[in-house]
Symmetry: C2
Subunit: 98 residues, 2 copies
DNA sequence: CAGAATCCTATGTGATACTG
DNA sequence: CAGTATCACATAGGATTCTG
């Protein structure tokens, strides 16, 4: 329980998961979809998700730039129903106080 | 989404909800069931839950001491399936790294 | 018995500049 | 393009003491 909330309770993590759930994305695409999240935070939370095997990363070096693609792992996907039900519950029950 | 995680992402909150889900409890009973949580934290998180209408509090003054009973509201109960599924997911998928 | 107030520390978060 | 490093700040969490 504590471990679960220590993951999805972190800032930007649910947003990242929802964004990656739509489709795998390169780092830059993620960054522009979640513009309010700083680059450092985004990388930091992605690393957290990588360490916990919720997300998979594939790097390829084409010409002279780097391409880093992130996608949900099967474990990450297994969490999505919960994330989505949290979102729905919040929309139905919480005003925008906090 | 953010609002939801700002509630259940807080320390002790899921534990409190699960404990109250079993049955309504007086403050002292809660405190002893969740012994590791300091009194201040317990009160603080209970107030957070009260403000967000997840929990109901009833105070009565008998002899010369105060009795303060906490229980889940209907909104709090509506969140329990999610909390429990988070707990199950964590038990199934997370080692005890974090 | 419940709860509030105070203080202190750890951690999360954010802006910015730097590297390969 | 991705990722790292440094610094600086805000907030969460905990120990303790006080009040009705």
């Amino acid at each position: 329980m504590e471990a679960t909330t220590s993951l999805i309770g972190r800032k930007w993590v649910p947003t990242i998961l929802l964004t990656l759930d739509a489709s795998p994305k390169r780092f830059g695409a993620l960054k522009s979809e979640i513009a309010d999240c700083s680059k450092k935070m985004l990388i930091q939370q992605l690393n957290l998700l990588l360490e916990n095997n919720l997300v998979i990363n594939i790097k390829t070096v084409d010409n002279n730039s780097t391409e880093s693609t992130y996608m949900l792992s099967s474990m990450g996907q297994s969490l999505m129903p919960i994330v989505k039900s949290m979102r729905n519950w919040g929309n139905n029950n919480l005003a925008c106080e906090r």
